[in-house]
Subunit: 257 residues, 2 copies
């Protein structure tokens, strides 16, 4: 994935031509948008990425998506109607490309439902305390660290009971990719909790092995950012600067040096 510039207020919609490719409206640091990059990359589906400045949204973007949210997916021949809500978009891609592309859900509806339940549980059990810790302004909320650990316990136990390297078996599946963006960002918690924070190697042994494997996955590599990059954006967000282009500016500075 490129680290291209985020389009803002006053911009014009990109002229992409009619090449039949999907268009993904995204933000470089958004974990929900990353879910869709992961799915498209895992399935080798070609697409354009249009990065949107979420603080100063382009006026034209509201014609594409009345809520102005990312991720949003524009499908060829259905212009000016975008699909949004990351899980709905991910399921749409799975269904719309079910014939020719790698499948990410289990074929059995019961197993698929179990994976979807775990994706929902990740939301409440892991993502929710994660953000409460990360964006705490008045000290870490009581219980949030314990809750975060208890949430991860569910996934450690699940991976152990499945006995496979990935939740999806021998390869990452939908569940792996839907929870990955926050797992990539776990070390951001050091920002709130101090450098000593790290996941307990015994308690989360399976998850840590899984994380190492995931980092080597071809789809993951395409959108992966280091903790250092994630931290830079978080600092910019916390300062109110919201510099969405912080990575491409870095690259420019390096080229200029």
């Amino acid at each position: 994935m490129s680290s291209g510039k985020h389009l803002a207020k006053g911009s014009t919609p990109p002229a992409l031509g009619k090449d039949g490719k999907l268009r993904l409206y995204s933000m470089r640091f958004c974990p929900y948008a990353q879910r869709i990059h992961l799915i498209l990359d895992a399935k080798n589906i070609p697409y354009h990425t249009i990065f949107i400045n979420l603080t100063e949204k382009p006026e034209w973007y509201f014609e594409k998506n009345p809520l102005g949210k990312v991720p949003a997916l524009e499908v060829p021949d259905k212009e000016n109607i975008t699909l949004y809500e990351s899980l709905v978009v991910a399921d749409y891609i799975e269904e719309a490309y079910s014939d020719k592309k790698r499948k990410l859900y289990p074929a059995d509806p019961f197993q698929k439902a179990q994976d979807r339940i775990l994706i929902e549980r990740f939301n409440g059990a892991v993502i929710s305390p994660y953000y409460r810790i990360l964006f705490s302004t008045d000290g870490i909320p009581p219980g949030a660290i314990t809750e975060f650990g208890t949430g991860l316990d569910i996934f450690e136990k699940e991976l152990k009971s499945r006995g496979t390297p990935y939740f999806g078996g021998d390869k990452p599946g939908m569940l792996d990719y839907m929870i990955w963006p926050w797992c990539e960002r776990v070390d951001l918690l050091k920002f709130a909790l101090g450098d000593k924070y790290e996941l307990d190697k015994e308690r989360f042994g399976k998850l840590l092995q899984w994380r190492e494997l995931m980092e080597k996955d071809e789809a993951v590599k395409q959108s992966f950012l280091s903790t250092e990059s994630h931290t830079k954006f978080l600092q910019s967000r916390k300062s109110g600067e919201n510099n969405y282009d912080i990575l491409s500016n870095d690259a420019k500075r390096l080229r200029a040096a």
Copy 2:
């Protein structure tokens, strides 16, 4: 649907035998559980209903469902693993019975995704202000009534643009059934807002026509409760009594009279 007794702490699991039927763990007044009754009834899939007392949950229920939530669905041959999260369960039923039963989603993945987006939007735009009004203890939260109306506007506009009696076309589909339970309960708002509260007949003309049609739907009729019955339970809940069996007790009193 029966108005059978809700099983509580100290109860034993019902002895249902191996008849191959699905088992739906439910609570008679829970709108999320009603979603699954509606889907099963619309598809004419036979099932057992087991009502759970959500205040005094049976000890055995946590073996079925570690979170103790309803709705939960138990599938024959997969005992002691329940599926939960109402939308996941509804989608599971749609997929697992896709061969022989009436389909509730549009066949086209893009249209299906649009319906799923609207189901998600109903959650934030309608259900959320609905509960904030209904369970306000310190006066109606500012903006909640406006927000509720603006949420319903989305669905009024959608029904108008589709030009069909139901969101699903000539028959109710998944979107109709997933939003129905709260539409059945709209008049409960009189409880918080006073008797004068009602939906504006012009502003919500399409939705009100739709509501009348929905009340005549065979699947809806099977779980339908009057505003009077919903109000009785709400009063019991607000008083802290939580009388889940309020309707079956009523029936008993009538029989005894």
